[in-house]
Symmetry: C2
Subunit: 333 residues, 2 copies
Amino acid sequence: MRATVKDVARRAGVSPKTVSNVMNGVVPVSGSTRLKVEQAILELDYVPNLSARGLRNGRSGVIALALPDLATPYSAEIAHNVVEVAHEQGWSVQIEETGSDPRREYELMSRARSNLIDGLILNPVVLDESAVKVGVSLPPVVLLGEVSQQLADRVWVDSVAAARDMTLALARTGRHRIAVLGTAEGRHSAAAVLRTRGYQAALEELGIDRDESLLIPCEKWTPQTAAGALASYLDAHPLPDALFCFTDSMAIGALSVLWKRGIKVPDDVAVAGFDDIADGQYAVPSLTTVSFDKRRVATEALRLLTERMTDRASGQRVVTVDYRIIERDSTRS
Amino acid sequence: MRATVKDVARRAGVSPKTVSNVMNGVVPVSGSTRLKVEQAILELDYVPNLSARGLRNGRSGVIALALPDLATPYSAEIAHNVVEVAHEQGWSVQIEETGSDPRREYELMSRARSNLIDGLILNPVVLDESAVKVGVSLPPVVLLGEVSQQLADRVWVDSVAAARDMTLALARTGRHRIAVLGTAEGRHSAAAVLRTRGYQAALEELGIDRDESLLIPCEKWTPQTAAGALASYLDAHPLPDALFCFTDSMAIGALSVLWKRGIKVPDDVAVAGFDDIADGQYAVPSLTTVSFDKRRVATEALRLLTERMTDRASGQRVVTVDYRIIERDSTRS
DNA sequence: TTGAAAGCGATACCAA
DNA sequence: TTGGTATCGCTTTCAA
């Protein structure tokens, strides 16, 4: 059998309460008792039972991180940073994948209510107000990304401004027929809508007429679907001057298609992405992108979450994380 | 306040035990009482407290997955599959990053002993027998990958055979000066040792003399370090006929360096990887690699883990997952 | 500063 | 089939 506080207390000749005091270190304990207790802990190889502690305290020390798909580099980098920052602050992280399925998001919320989780960082895909109902009975929730949600705290990058800046940057290299890859057709992802909006705002500023044929829809934001979407597009349309992909993953799929067709990047067409995933730097050619500090996203999300744990009542807080355009070989003029 | 079993029991006019029976569905319950209880659960919006359940049962329903670095595509794909399979079987997954630091592995084991985790799937990097001491007091552990460990259950791909086959495949395209990228210099990663061994076995079969100058060391297996290592190598050595990178991530870094130097792949040098990460298919050119079913790795790991939970005593079990060479553009002759 | 005892919520034993 | 009750391990009042 595993040792418990009682065993430690008996061995150290003190009460369970004293053992608890030594471990949690809030109530002062005399040096000699502390030593005896620590000795006993070592001898018995005592490890506290976190289920019991969680039951008693109402907190588990675990937060959940819900992402659409861990296998995508973007999600993976976010997860990496959240896990790292959380660990530094003494939290464990449970990973959940929503697969962009609102039902999974619901499921998650109910799981979160079952007290094994003290809070939830949720990166939703679909623009859906209803999926997250932040009620009093729910644990604290922080949303990641461009969700239009008025209730939960949120950390995001200003996608509209970033997409606008990227479009302007592409135009500055002398390219004016700028296509975008990743616009949403049916179900609207918030990011798709906002990035398209930023793109169109830039065109307007530049006095470039809108051309619907330069919007290339792409339902899933993976290299695979992007490659497929771009391939069919190129079969039916002339090559644009520049291609702004709404994620780096899509850009990588696009680069692959262009290369296979012998279309030179950036000579024949410039390509840009969004997210600054690690592999973008090693793409061929290296990928121009919208970069932001993912570590900062993690830090802020965790800060909002922990603050929300102690103050459930105050209003929604939104943290906007800075971005910058990184120009690499894929758009050199 | 949140509702508890007692509240539900009172409302349904039954005892707490009956509520528990309804929820767990092992002990038969009469139809009418079941209905009453289910009604009460809905009305009170009851969600069981998993900490309490965990305390009572000694099981939490959570497993931990420990990986060196979630941000690498390989780890991310493994994590994705484990989370998915685990979810299907009703498990939650806690993610831990070891950063290839043995201390983190220790820390993890002790955390695992604290009963918030029913089992651990560990993907270690460093060949270190001592890091995982599988004793009676520890939760079940399943190791992922090429670790030389005699105690814990393990799921792996036969790296020696795979590296041998890949080397032979490269040789079949008429390339005989085959370099490998990723050999370990100081601390030995098990995978590096085994893959080097397979490579050398193939050369021997082919009657090709060993050439130490074709072993390119690379401490960390990231695109960045691979790019750096290859760049310095090329500054001092002639170009080999083929470059076998021990991971796809390294291969992606290598492709980037080769492209920047105007070295054509596969015309001037063939490049191959290992792992078959999703982006390899969209690399420029698409990457020849050693592929294996990551979903299967996840399934087997979870199977071993759950079986081990009910049978702590039986001997070590090892599952070997099949691989196959996928030839893509990066090695076309 | 330390001890005794109650209780967090769910489950399982033993009766009925 | 169902009800009462002890129990899992820890923390925290309240007293000493």
